[in-house]
C-alpha cells in the first residue's frame, strides 16, 4: 500500500542515524522501536540506543522528562547506534534543547511547532523562540504543526482531544518513514495487533501515520527523500533483538539444552526487570519465576533451587547485587551452580537508574567478604547476551560454581539484528547427578576440575548437609582447622583458575602485534570495534581485543598484551579493568574513562587512538 511512487528525488545513503525525542509521555520509545523494526525488515543493519528518564512522570514539557530513542541503520555492518544524528525529531522545546547538540551541522530537524508556545519555551529555558531567532540556521529545519494536523487527521472518530493528541507520535513516525523511504506496512500490522480491539484508536493511529507520510510526500518544503539499502549480512533468518530479551531466551535455551527447569529469583530493578518480565511469560517452557520480597530472598531462593537440582538464576542490577553479596558467599561456599546476572547501571547507590555504566566489575570481582572468587563473563552486544547465558551455565555446572554474568543498560535496552539460531545447532550442556554406589557419600569429593558432585535431595543414600561454615575438603563436615581453611580457599581459587583451560583462547581483530592494542570488555565493544576499524583503515597499526571472560582471563592474554607497544583500555568507569590488568601483569596501560551514563562515541576512541599512535 503505502509506498507510493516517489514524486520527489531520492538520494542514496550508506547509513543514517535518526533520533526521536519528546516528553516521556509522547511515545518516543514506540516510535523508535517501530522505525527499528521496519529498518531491520528492510535488511539494514541496525543499532539502537533508547534513553529515558528515571522519573516515570516528570512534569510534562520539562527537561527532566525528555525521552529519546536513537536508531543507526546502515547498508554495511555497524556496531554502534551512531555518534551524531542525521535527523532529529523534537516533539517539544525541552526535547530540542537537550538533544540539538547531537544533530550534525546540516542535519534535518523536524519539530512540533505547536509545542513551542510560551509555556513550553519557558520550561525549556528558552528566552527567545529558537524556531524564529535564527539559532537553528545551520540545520535543515522543518517546523510542522504536528498537533494540529494530527487532530485534523483523526477528526470524526470520536476521540477526546487528549486521545487525539496521543497519536502525534504516529504522525512523526509517518513523516520520518517517508523521509527515509520506509514502508508503513510493519507499523500498520503492529497497529492492527496492538489496537485491534479498539477500532477507533487503531484508525486514529493509522490516519496519523499516513498523514505524516503524506505530509512528506506533498509539502514543498521537504524536497528530498533518502534511501538506505539492505546490508550484506550473513545468510540466514534474522530478527531484531534487545539484550534483555536475548538474555531471557539464552537462559531458556540453556535450561533446555541441559534438560533442566529454569528457576529465576528476582526483585524488580531497572534495567534488569525485563528479564523477570520476559521469563514470567515462558511458563510453558517449564520456567518458574519467583518475584521475591527483596534481592536477598531472590538469591537465597535461587540457592534453594540450585540445591534442588534446578537451573537457578538471579538477575538484578548493582544495588540489588550489593544486597546479594552475603548470599553469593554462601553459593561459593556450598559450591552450587547458579547464575548471577548484573545488568549494570550508573552508580554508586541508586546512581543513574536508567543510564548505562560498567562500574560493577570491581563489585563482581571483589564485592564479597573473605576470599570469595567467582567467574565473570560479560556480554558485548544485545544478541551476544543469548550466547553468554548458555556459556555461563555451561561453566557453572561443569565447575560447580556460581557464575557472574555482566551486561549493562545499554546492551539490555539496545537492539540489533540477530541471526536466529537453530536450536539443534546449539551445543548441549551435559550435567550429571550422582546416585548412591554403596560407598559413603562424600559431598566435597572433587573431580579433575575440582568440581564436587551435585547430589540432589530425593536421592537415597546421598543425604548430606551444606552451609556457610567452612567445610572439610572431601567429607564436607564443618571444619575450623586452620590448615584446611587455607587449603579450601586455595581450592576455590584454583577451581576458578581451572576454567581458563576450558574457555577459548582470546581472539583478536587485527594483527597479533603492533603499536597499540585496544582492550575492551562488555558493552563498549561496538564503539571500540568501529574506532579500531577506522584506525586500521587509515593505516594505523592498531588491534582490537575484546574480552568476554573477565575471570579467569583467557590463557593467552598476557602474551597478547606484551605484543603491543601500548595498551589502551576504554571503560565506562574510572579504570576497573585497567587496574586489574596492571596489577595482574605489571603492564603500563592507558585508560580512557567516561562516566556520563552514556556509551562511548566512536570519535572519542578514535581521538584517543590518534593521540597515542599519532
Amino acid at each position: 500500500m503505502a509506498t507510493a511512487t516517489p514524486t520527489k528525488p531520492v538520494s542514496d545513503l550508506v547509513e543514517a542515524t535518526v533520533r526521536f525525542c519528546g516528553d516521556s509521555g509522547d511515545g518516543m520509545q514506540l516510535a523508535g522501536t517501530q522505525f527499528t523494526t521496519t529498518s531491520a525488515l528492510l535488511g539494514n543493519d541496525v543499532a539502537t540506543f533508547p534513553d529515558f528518564p528515571a522519573e516515570i512522570r516528570a512534569p510534562r514539557g520539562t527537561k527532566a522528562g525528555v525521552s529519546g530513542f536513537q536508531i543507526h541503520f546502515s547498508s554495511t555492518e555497524i556496531f554502534t547506534p551512531g555518534d551524531t544524528v542525521d535527523a532529529l525529531v523534537a516533539m517539544n522545546p525541552a526535547a530540542l534543547v537537550t538533544n540539538i547538540g547531537d544533530l550534525r551541522d546540516g542535519g534535518i530537524l523536524l519539530v512540533n511547532k505547536d509545542a513551542f508556545d510560551k509555556k513550553g519555551l519557558e520550561q525549556a529555558g528558552y528566552e527567545t523562540d529558537p524556531l524564529e531567532d535564527g539559532s537553528l540556521d545551520k540545520y535543515k529545519l522543518h517546523s510542522v504543526d504536528m498537533t494540529k494536523i494530527t487532530r485534523l487527521a483523526v477528526e470524526g472518530l470520536g476521540l477526546s482531544q487528549k486521545e487525539a493528541d496521543r497519536c502525534r507520535n504516529f504522525f512523526a513516525m509517518g513523516l520520518v518513514f517517508w523521509l527515509y523511504d520506509r514502508s508503513l506496512d510493519p507499523t500498520l500490522r503492529f497497529i492492527e495487533k496492538k489496537f485491534g480491539k479498539l477500532p477507533a484508536v487503531a484508525q486514529a493511529n493509522t490516519n496519523a501515520l499516513k498523514a505524516g507520510f503524506n505530509y512528506g510526500e506533498t509539502v514543498e518544503a521537504i524536497n528530498t527523500q533518502y534511501h538506505v539499502g539492505p546490508a550484506k549480512l550473513k545468510p540466514g533468518t534474522y530478527r531484531n533483538i534487545e539484550g534483555n530479551l536475548a538474555l531471557a531466551w539464552g537462559l531458556v535455551a540453556a535450561a533446555q539444552l541441559s534438560d533442566k527447569r529454569l528457576f529465576l529469583g528476582a526483585y524488580p530493578i531497572t534495567p534488569a526487570s525485563d528479564v523477570l518480565h520476559y521469563l514470567s511469560n515462558y511458563k510453558n517452557f517449564d520456567v518458574l519465576t519467583f518475584q521475591a520480597e527483596d534481592e536477598i530472598a531472590a538469591v537465597t531462593a535461587a540457592i534453594g533451587a540450585a540445591f534442588a537440582g534446578e537451573m537457578a538464576v538471579t538477575a538484578s542490577s548493582g544495588p540489588g547485587i550489593a544486597l546479594k553479596g552475603e548470599a553469593l558467599g554462601l553459593a561459593v561456599m556450598t559450591e552450587l551452580p547458579m547464575l548471577v546476572i548484573n545488568v549494570q547501571r550508573g552508580g554508586p547507590s541508586t546512581g543513574l537508574p536508567t543510564k548505562t555504566e560498567q562500574a560493577d566489575l570491581n563489585q563482581a570481582l571483589f564485592g564479597r567478604n573473605g576470599e570469595c572468587p567467582m567467574p565473570i563473563i560479560a556480554a558485548r552486544s544485545p544478541g551476544d547476551c543469548f550466547y553468554v547465558a548458555q556459556e555461563a551455565w555451561r561453566i557453572a555446572t561443569k565447575f560447580m560454581i556460581p557464575v557472574f554474568v555482566l551486561t549493562d543498560g545499554y546492551i539490555a535496552n539496545g537492539s540489533e539484528p540477530w541471526k536466529i539460531p537453530k536450536v539443534a545447532d546449539l551445543p548441549r550442556i551435559k550435567i550429571s547427578h550422582p546416585s548412591a554406589n554403596g560407598d559413603e557419600f562424600q559431598p566435597y569429593e572433587r573431580d579433575e576440575r575440582l568440581a564436587r558432585p551435585w547430589a540432589i535431595p530425593g536421592t537415597p543414600g546421598l543425604e548430606h548437609r551444606i552451609g556457610g561454615l567452612e567445610k572439610a575438603n572431601i567429607t564436607g563436615n564443618v571444619s575450623y582447622d586452620p590448615v584446611n581453611h587455607e587449603k579450601m580457599c586455595l581450592l576455590r581459587q584454583q577451581k576458578v583458575d581451572n576454567i581458563a583451560d576450558d574457555i577459548p583462547l582470546q581472539e583478536l581483530d587485527g594483527p597479533e602485534s603492533g603499536d597499540l592494542l585496544v582492550l575492551s570488555w562488555g558493552g563498549t565493544y561496538g564503539s571500540c570495534a568501529t574506532a579500531v576499524h577506522t584506525a586500521q583503515k587509515s593505516g594505523q597499526k592498531v588491534t582490537h581485543c575484546h574480552l568476554r571472560y573477565l575471570n579467569p582471563f583467557p590463557k593467552n592474554l598476557e602474551k597478547i598484551l606484551r605484543s603491543f607497544d601500548k595498551v589502551l583500555i576504554p571503560e565506562l568507569n574510572l579504570g576497573q579493568l585497567n587496574q586489574v590488568i596492571r596489577a595482574r601483569f605489571l603492564i603500563n596501560t592507558v585508560g580512557l574513562n567516561k562516566i556520563q551514563g552514556k556509551p562511548f562515541s566512536v570519535i572519542e576512541i578514535v581521538n584517543k587512538i590518534n593521540s597515542l599512535v599519532g
Binding site: 523494526t37 531491520a40 525488515l41 550484506k232 549480512l233 550473513k234 545468510p235 540466514g236 533468518t237 534474522y238 530478527r239 531466551w249 531458556v252 533446555q256 527447569r261 528457576f263 515462558y282 511458563k283 510453558n284 517452557f285 517449564d286 520456567v287 518458574l288 519467583f290 521475591a292 520480597e293 536477598i296 530472598a297 537465597t300 531462593a301 535461587a302 540457592i303 534453594g304 533451587a305 540445591f307 534442588a308 537440582g309 537457578a312 552475603e326 548470599a327 558467599g329 554462601l330 556450598t334 536466529i420 539460531p421 537453530k422 536450536v423 535431595p457 530425593g458 536421592t459 537415597p460 543414600g461 546421598l462 543425604e463 548430606h464 548437609r465 551444606i466 552451609g467 556457610g468 564443618v478
Partner: protein, 341 residues
Amino acid sequence: MSIESTLPVLKPADFASDQDVRWCPGCGDYAILAQMKKMLPSLGVPRENIVFISGIGCSSRFPYYMNTYGIHSIHGRAPAVATGLKSARPDLQVWVITGDGDGLSIGGNHLMHAIRRNVDLNIVLFNNRIYGLTKGQYSPTSPLGKKTKSTPMGAVDNPLHPLSIAIGCEATFVARSIDTNIKHLGAVFKRAAEHRGTAFVEVYQNCNVFNDGAWEYAKDRETKDDTTLELEHGKPLIFGKERQKGVRLHGLDPEVVELGKGISEDDLLFHDERAAEPSLAYLLSRMRYEDGFPEPIGVFRCVDRPRYDDEVNKQIEHSLKDKGKGDLDTLFNSGETWTVE
C-alpha cells in the same frame, strides 16, 4: 502394592547424623532435636525426601545433626532458601529451623513472606528470648527492661510475639510448645508436618547459659498448670491443677474465671482451630503470663488455603496444557523476521 509398605521402617537413630552435637550441656535444643528424631519415623516419609534449612544461631546448627538433606544458610534467610527449594521440588518435605533473633530480627521480612505465601514449609522457631550464638544480647522477644550485654540499663524496645506475627501474616497453621514438654512437642511437630501449607511452630526453649529460666513459669511442675493452657479443638479453655479455672470472653476481651460459683464450662470460650477468621487465634496469642493469663500451648490455628508451591507449579501445568510445550525454534522465529539470502 502401596509404596509405603515397601519402605524400610526407620528408627529415631536413623535420623541422627555422625556429627557431634555441640550445644551447651543443658541447652533446650537437645530436647527439641530428640523429639524431631523421634517423630520423623512416624511420618513414613523417606529420609532422602526430607530437608532441613536453617539460618544462623545456635538453633540453626540443627541440620548438621540430622541425617537428611540440609542447608545451614545465612542469618535470617532460611525461609527464602526453603521457598526456592520447595517451589522447585514440591515433593520434598522441608523444615525451616530458626531462632527468635534469626527469624524475627534479621529475617523478619522473609518469615513474613513465606507465611503469607503459604509455602508448604514447617517452620520451627526456637524462642529463647536471647541471642545465644553471639553470647547474650537481647532479642526481639526479650521483655522490656531486659538487662543484657548490649542493654545494660534494660531493653526499651517493645517485644514481638511470634505467634501474633504469624497470625497477622495470615498463617494457616500456628502452634506452640515447650522444649521440656516432650510428648506435647512431638505431637505438635507431627501435626505441623501433616499440615499442607506453612506450619509455624514456636517452641519455648531454654538457653541455660545466657537466659536461664526465661520460661521457668511455664516449665516448673509447681506453676505450669496455672501458667499454661493446653488447647484442644472444640474444647473449652480450662486450666489449673484441678482444672478449676477457665477463660471466657468479656466483650472482646478474655478474662480468667473460676469454675463453679455460677460459672459452668458452657460459659467458657471454646477453642476452634479451624475458625475461618483468625481473631480467636490472635486473641489466644496475646494471652500472657505477666498479664495474669495462662499461655496457650498446642495448635492455635489450622486451616486450609492454597499453597504457593502448589499454585506456581499448577500455573506451569496449565500453561503447558493451554499453549503446549514451548518450542524454542518457534519462539525465536515469532514476530517480525526477515531472511538474507
